[in-house]
Structure formats: C-alpha cells, structure tokens
C-alpha cells in the first residue's frame, strides 16, 4: 500500500518546504507546500497505525529553510497540528520510486559505509526535484557512506540549482578543491636529508613526536604541542611521529 500524508496549515509563507519525520522509525518525509496544503512524497508498505506521528519542525533542515524565507524559526504551536490528516491514496508504487524507502536505504548505507548500497539508492532519485535541504542531507549521507564522488556531484549540481543555499555552496566548494595551484615552486633539498634521518633513527624514538630540520634532530616530546613549545614552529621543521 502506498500512502500519502497531507496536513493543513496556517501562517506558512509561500514557497516553504519543510522536513518532517516519522520519528519512531526515523523516516524523513520532505513535504512541499502547495495551495491546498502540504503534500508529502509517498512512502511504501507502511501501516500508519504502527506509527506515532510527530511533526518535527525544529529539525535543522526545517530551520534552515525557514531562515531562507526571512521568517523566524517556527515553533510547533504555530502550525495547525490538530488539523494534521493522514490519508491513504491506496495506490501501489514501485519500491524504487518510494522516496521514504530510498532515504532509509541511504541512511543504512551511510551507517555501514556501504558505497555500493548508497549509489543504488541515490541513483533512483531525481535530485533535481528535491529541495536544497534534502540535497544537503544526502551530501552528508554520501560522505558517511564512503561515496565521495556522489557527495561531490550532489553538492555541485545542487549548488548550481540553488545559489541561495549557503550550505550547499560551501559543500560544493569544499568537495571540489582546486587541485594543483602552482607546479613551478623551487625544490627543498633538505627534504631528502629529513627522510634519511627518519630512516636511520626512527626506531630510537618510536611513538614519540620528533622535530627534524635539515637532517638534524631538534627535539623529542610526547605531544606535538609540547614539541612545538620546545623547538618553536617553523615551516622548515618536519614534525612527525617516529
């Protein structure tokens, strides 16, 4: 059975998109405001009687979206929670198009650092249809799922579609580093001397922080902080664990 959630509301600004959740099972539902109310994405094989329904308006994505509308973050009381209605469309849908089920797969994949499972679920969603808060959530899950290329694609494409979303802009920038910015910098012959010192003497100082400069030991300490206090902080000193 496929079921859709609908909730009537009041005092909600135009264009508002909220993140709501069935907290008992942590199934997120991304709801879009329409002229007739909030309409969630459908979810699959859920018996609503099994759930305790809670609107969760104080979740971070909710606050983020509200902040972008220029409206103060709402409290639960501002919404007509009593008028929440749960209706079933009675329509069967393919599980692969079941958004709540997909989010559950993404979450499980993230917890297990399972890139393959994440990619399979991620590929079943049309991300151009998703609000920026949902895309940002998927970026974080992709990072946790050890799917860095999916995280980058989600962030860069989401940032292009939502230039107003500051966190997506930041994520896209961080996940797409410039790479090589200079390739004509002079060599540092002391590097070979430092590495040679480590090869020759590392065993004498195992599991201690050492400071080496131009192939000479400057100091030893249990922590890097203590070592820097002892020998100072300079860019030509190599600090490492022996």
């Amino acid at each position: 059975m496929t079921t859709a959630l609908q909730a009537s509301h009041r005092n909600v600004p135009d264009g508002f998109i909220a993140s709501l959740a069935l907290e008992r099972y942590s199934l997120p539902i991304y709801a879009n405001q329409t002229n007739t109310g909030w309409t969630s994405s459908p979810f699959h094989d859920v018996t609503l009687a099994d759930y305790e329904l809670h609107w969760s308006p104080l979740q971070v994505p909710f606050r983020t979206e509200m902040a972008q509308t220029g409206v103060d973050a709402p409290t639960l009381a501002e919404y007509d929670v009593d008028a929440l209605e749960v209706t079933s469309t009675g329509t069967t849908m393919n599980g692969s198009h079941n958004l709540a089920g997909v989010w559950e797969h993404l979450r499980i994949a993230a917890e297990a650092a399972d890139e393959r499972r994440f990619i399979a679920a991620y590929a079943s969603v049309d991300w151009t249809e998703q609000p920026p808060g949902a895309i940002m959530r998927a970026v974080r899950l992709a990072i946790s799922a050890d799917a860095p290329l999916a995280a980058r694609k989600l962030a860069t494409e989401g940032a292009q579609r939502h230039p107003e979303h500051a966190e997506l802009q930041k994520a896209a920038r961080i996940l797409t580093p410039a790479g090589v910015v200079r390739s004509d910098l002079p060599p540092d012959p002391n590097m070979a001397k430092n590495v040679q010192w480590l090869k020759d003497h590392r065993d004498q100082y195992r599991n201690q922080w050492v400071a080496v400069q131009a192939g000479r030991l400057l100091g030893v300490a249990a922590t890097l902080t203590a070592l820097i206090e002892r020998v100072g902080k300079r860019e030509d000193i190599l600090y490492t664990v022996a």
């Binding site: 860095p148 930041k170 090589v180 060599p187 820097i228």
Partner: protein, 166 residues
C-alpha cells in the same frame, strides 16, 4: 621546469620527486605503509599514502597546530576511518609537496578533520592522503626500488604510457 618522468611522446608526467619512508602503522598492522613528507598549511609533517581513503585525513594534533577556522568548514560530517565512525568537519587546506628534485607542487585539497574529542582515540596515527579531493588532483608514481615518489600536475596529456628517461 625539470621533468623527471615522461610520456612516450616526451610530454611531462612528473616534474618533481621526493623520498619517502616505509613503516607499519598502528599496533596491529604488520605491512608497511608509505609515509610521505607533506606540508599541510604551515605544518611540515608526514602522511600515509592511502588510495583507499577519500580526502586528506588530518591528524587531530596537526589540525590543532594548524589552527583551522571552523566557520569555513562543512561541519557535522561522519567518516569511517580504519573501521571506526569518526565525527568531524571537511575543510579546504593548502598542501605542498616539497620536491627534493625538480619542482615542488602547491595544491588545494579537501581535508577531513576529526572533532577534538577523537584526539585521544586517534593516538599517534599520522595524517592520510586519500584519493578523492587530493591524490586524484595530480599525477604520481612510486618507485619502490629507490623509495621515490614522483609527482606532477595533471595537465592536458592523455597518453597512458609513461617511461623514465636515463
């Protein structure tokens, strides 16, 4: 620019080289890992070459010495590192590979920095240089016979064959 490794058509593959060390890392690890000297922001340190890891994983003590700005980071991300789930933030870092021959390389890389509470659990592990957001951004080759790490910018060259000139 000194070119140390060339494609078959004489196009440049590597423009710099640096010596590395080999060392087993951690209490239970017996196989050696490649430890490369790199400069992360202003701190010269060693990092493990790890193509199985995404991003640069910055050791908490090095991150503390660098003094990163949390406001510019993507906070509250979670990464699986050596089988453990670690919370932290993603940063853009300036990294430099200082050549002992040829030219040094300056890069902007994506770096994961564990939250401070993971510092104790991290112990004496060094930083890691991962593939996505770091190693994917330049060409590199390893010569285990001489413990030499060769590197160079990606450039436009598409030839997949490389060879070393005498």
């Amino acid at each position: 620019m000194i070119m140390l490794l060339f494609f078959a058509d004489n196009g440049p593959f590597a423009t710099g080289a640096v010596q590395y060390s080999q060392l087993p890392i951690g209490r239970d690890e017996r196989s050696s890992r490649l430890l490369l000297p790199v400069q992360l922001e202003g701190s010269l340190t060693e990092a493990i070459l790890d193509t199985g890891t995404p991003y640069v994983i910055c050791a908490p003590q090095i991150a503390d010495a660098i003094g990163l700005d949390a406001a510019s980071a993507l906070e509250n991300v979670r990464l699986s590192i050596r089988g453990a789930s670690v919370n932290g933030g993603l940063h853009l870092l300036q990294m430099r590979i200082r050549a002992d021959r040829g030219s040094s390389l300056a890069l902007e890389v994506t770096a994961f920095v564990p939250d401070p509470e993971f510092g104790e659990a991290w112990g004496m592990l060094p930083s890691f240089l991962g593939l996505t957001g770091c190693l994917e951004r330049f060409r590199f080759a390893v010569d285990p016979a001489t413990d030499t790490f060769y590197f160079g910018p990606l450039g436009e060259h598409q030839n997949s064959t490389s060879e070393q000139r005498p």
